[in-house]
Symmetry: C2
Subunit: 223 residues, 2 copies
């Protein structure tokens, strides 16, 4: 075989250095604080547009990491994003990942309140895990419901707003950015149509690995 088999950790390191080099060749300057997030999203998608699409509220990365260091949970809007979030990393930090979309209580609530499961699961999560990081990779209506919750006093640790799509998505992302700014909630958002469960998980993982590295600085990889 002409392709050398190398270890997954070596491949990751090499991928990272390729991404860094190509960003440099494109003349894209990535701020140090945001580098781990941007690199991991490009690593998960091979799509360099994210270097420009991803927008961060001030201190979003630092505050996300701080929340994880105090054991904040991660709540996702799909089981797919949940499956992609690093449980090993979260365990080191005392955190957990939840997705409530398949909960019977959420299905019931959606029916009772005449809404979608995506909206009902944000309502449910806001009660169950108010201090969590909310990672939305699929449903723009989940972002709209986070906005409605914030109007009523809810404050999550961080909003990762990266739903993908063609209807309501671009607008919902712009709205959550303004809403988070108004209420002082940190936000990381992929502007435009692009995003998805892989992107949501990649952003959560970048923060999780960065936080875990702070606990075990000798194992630093991505910073």
């Amino acid at each position: 075989m002409s392709i050398e088999k190398t270890r997954p950790s070596e491949i990751e390191r090499e991928s990272l250095s390729i991404i860094r080099r190509e960003l440099c060749e494109m003349g894209i300057d990535v701020p140090r604080e945001r580098e781990a997030v941007i690199l991991r999203v490009i690593h998960a998608t091979a799509d360099f547009e994210y270097a420009e699409n991803l927008v961060f509220s001030e201190d979003a990365v630092r505050r996300g990491i701080e929340a994880l260091l105090t054991g904040a949970a991660v709540v996702t809007d799909t089981n797919m994003a949940k499956a992609g979030v690093s449980k090993v990393g979260l365990r080191k930090l005392g955190g957990e990942v939840f997705c409530y979309m398949a909960e019977p209580a959420v299905a019931e609530r959606a029916k009772e309140e005449g809404t979608t499961r995506a909206v009902a699961s944000v309502r449910y999560a806001a009660e169950m895990n108010p201090g969590a990081i909310f990672a939305v990779g699929n449903a723009p209506t989940a972002l709209l419901e986070l906005e409605a919750q914030m109007e009523r006093g809810f404050r999550s640790a961080l909003v990762i707003g990266v739903p993908v799509g063609f209807v309501n998505v671009v607008e919902a992302k712009e709205r959550i950015l303004m809403c988070c700014e108004r209420f002082g909630v940190p936000a990381i958002v992929a502007r435009g149509r692009k995003g998805g469960s892989s992107v949501a998980a990649a952003i959560a993982n970048a923060l999780i690995y960065s936080a875990a590295d702070m606990l075990e600085p000798e194992k630093r990889g991505w910073n």
Copy 2:
């Protein structure tokens, strides 16, 4: 709120018509047989490059659907892709989705055979589910191992080869295309670096929904 909340099924239909219109405006002609797959991948990524990256062996879609109609399983290389594959759709067809990456038997085998879990899980799957559709969204080494298995007589129902990445990925995809052609195994591959678990799940789902529609033609949506 200025964004109208519409039902998920309406949003999906509207998204689909937007994608169709924009493909048309770009002058990209999508062959009828492949349309459901290409549209669903663009729907999952908002990335129109897939209209050109996705390559299909002759009859790949028809043969994938036929396999699903006879109850073929889907084997994924990540739990994330597994989470994204429609269980409701597969249940209608009498199929199931499996990912062996977290199986203790696979971890043991990887250790014994001095290889990665990605490779060991393909070996395991080739024994457990030889007639399955293999959907690879992450590990190029899983494609290389599929190739090695085919050299020894293994024939899967279909290979969905869409790992994402910067190291070994482009080459592994070209190799599996040639290998599948040589052994008459149908293949759907995302050429180049792009892909991922979301893309793998989207392709599997396009085939699953197409097959399920054949059982319930009155509910046709994506064709």
